[in-house]
Amino acid sequence: MRVHVNLNLCQGHARCEDICPEVFATDAVEGKCVIVQAAVPDDLIEKTRLAVRNCPEGALRLASDKWARDQDTAQ
């Protein structure tokens, strides 16, 4: 599974970083989401999913490797 952030939607709430800092961070300039590891290890999938569901902007997706990679490329 891969995690993807839509930076047009992200507004820097940092709820993802609060919940799962192993996968999410925020940058020092805009305070927006930075994906630390896009390919989510199995043991972090539940925690990542919780972070995704808590994004107030709906900016995060956890999906199949192919979908997320296509999104990254499109962005």
Binding site: G12, H13, V29, G31, R53
Partner: protein, 407 residues
């Protein structure tokens, strides 16, 4: 309300969408000002309704509509949006501007309030909380608002702006008038007073810059390497002043009031002083339940929204406390679940104007509560005080909150 704020007759509003609702008015006997909003929902008010009070304005009650009100700046502008209208009203930078103009000052402020930047403030925040609490802990009682919740964020503001602590009372009075007064003359004079203070402050920081936010704003370079327009600098200071003080004060008042009457919740937090994830999760839930802000927007052009005719310059109020209890979004929305796992509350707004200080505000609350519980693990409302007066408006809260504990 005074005659000055009487609106033109809203011919575009159908009778079945009109509700007589004054968001400043908290009837006697109502101890929680948010209840006037929740009562609208219980009474089955239209999910989008219009009230002629306070100059006339719409109210959205659905989470989805409130979120759209925040996100869709092409319809819902923050520019000149206050309710009731204040003319002229300063354009707060960047909150009072729409994208893309909004981005100039947003970009300037954002790095000062990122989670990373706020982590660098934690020791100072802890020291300040300990000092304030240490001032009254041995007395066994305090007025939580006067002695802590008002002083703490205002003191933090003075620290971040590089100002002397002895100006605390002056700033408390200015903020209180800004949020509480419904007298047009007092409101107009208050804005003038705040700008006079900001003018002096930024001029001083221009001459003698320090390692503080005010100095950074004055020194920042905009177009062609020049200082930002002076009026914009003042407007940015104005925003930070009105956005960061009263909101935190009243959020804390709500939370401490709840903890004072809920022993199990005190226990919950005490048991998690060394578990930051669980502690934060519980704070997020109290942030959801105790969203003190009701935000304003102004309609930019005549249009239909969800089948409702809106007219240019109509005002809209977005009540976060109502959004945060929408059953379409939250399971058991009226239940306070300190271990709630999925919690997309909009207490800090969403969209381009998401509260830039949210990480600081949250940290102020977390630090204060942790330091408080270490020093004062058990406390309760002062008996026989009766409930103190609550107030509505754009930021809801209480005039005082007397607490006591055994020493």
């Amino acid at each position: 309300m005074t005659l000055q704020f009487q609106p033109p007759k809203p011919t575009h509003v159908p009778a079945d969408r009109i509700v007589d609702f004054d968001f400043f008015h908290v009837p006697a006997g109502i101890t929680d000002p948010a209840e006037i909003w929740h009562d609208l929902v219980r009474r089955g008010a239209p999910r989008i309704f219009y009230t002629p009070r306070n100059g006339g304005h719409w109210v959205f009650l659905d989470y989805a509509d409130i979120v759209e009100g925040y996100r869709n700046h092409e319809i819902f502008s923050t520019y000149q949006a206050p309710v009731p209208p204040i003319e002229p009203f300063p354009v707060m930078q960047p909150q009072g501007m729409d994208p893309p103009d909004h981005n100039v000052f947003r970009r300037l402020l954002a790095p000062m309030f990122t989670p990373l930047a706020v982590r660098g403030m934690v020791e100072e925040l802890e020291r300040r909380a300990r000092t304030l609490i240490g001032g009254f802990a041995a007395k066994g009682e305090c007025d939580f608002i006067h002695d802590f919740a008002a002083r703490y964020p205002t003191g933090t503001f003075l620290y971040l702006f590089g100002l002397s602590e002895d100006r605390l009372d002056e700033f408390l009075l200015l903020a209180n008038t800004f949020f509480r007064s419904t007298d047009p003359a007092a409101r107009a004079q208050n804005v003038i007073d705040i700008y006079a203070v900001l003018e002096g402050l930024f001029r001083e920081k221009e001459k003698n810059p320090g390692n503080d936010i005010a100095s950074a704003i004055v020194a920042a370079q905009g177009d062609q390497g020049r200082q930002h327009p002076w009026q914009d600098i003042l407007n940015c200071g104005f925003l930070l002043f009105v956005a960061g003080l009263d909101t935190v004060t009243n959020t804390m008042a709500y939370i401490w009031r709840y903890l004072a009457i809920t022993p199990a919740a005190r226990q919950h937090f005490r048991d998690r002083l060394d578990d930051p994830d669980a502690f934060l999760r519980a704070i997020e839930e109290l942030m959801r339940i105790n969203a003190v802000s009701n935000l304003f927007r102004r309609v930019t052009h005549d249009c239909q929204f969800r089948g409702v005719q809106l007219r240019r310059n109509d005002r809209v109020i977005l009540p976060n406390s109502v959004a945060n209890r929408d059953p379409a979004v939250f399971a058991n929305p009226d239940v306070i679940d300190l271990d709630r796992k999925v919690n997309t509350h909009v207490t800090f707004g969403v969209g381009p104007h998401r509260c830039v200080g949210s990480h600081l505000a949250k940290r102020e609350v977390m630090v204060s509560l942790a330091e408080w519980l270490r020093r004062i693990p058990e406390f309760e409302l002062m008996p026989d005080e009766g409930e103190t007066r609550a107030f509505g408006g754009s930021v809801m809260g209480f005039e005082s909150l007397k607490l006591r504990w055994d020493v």
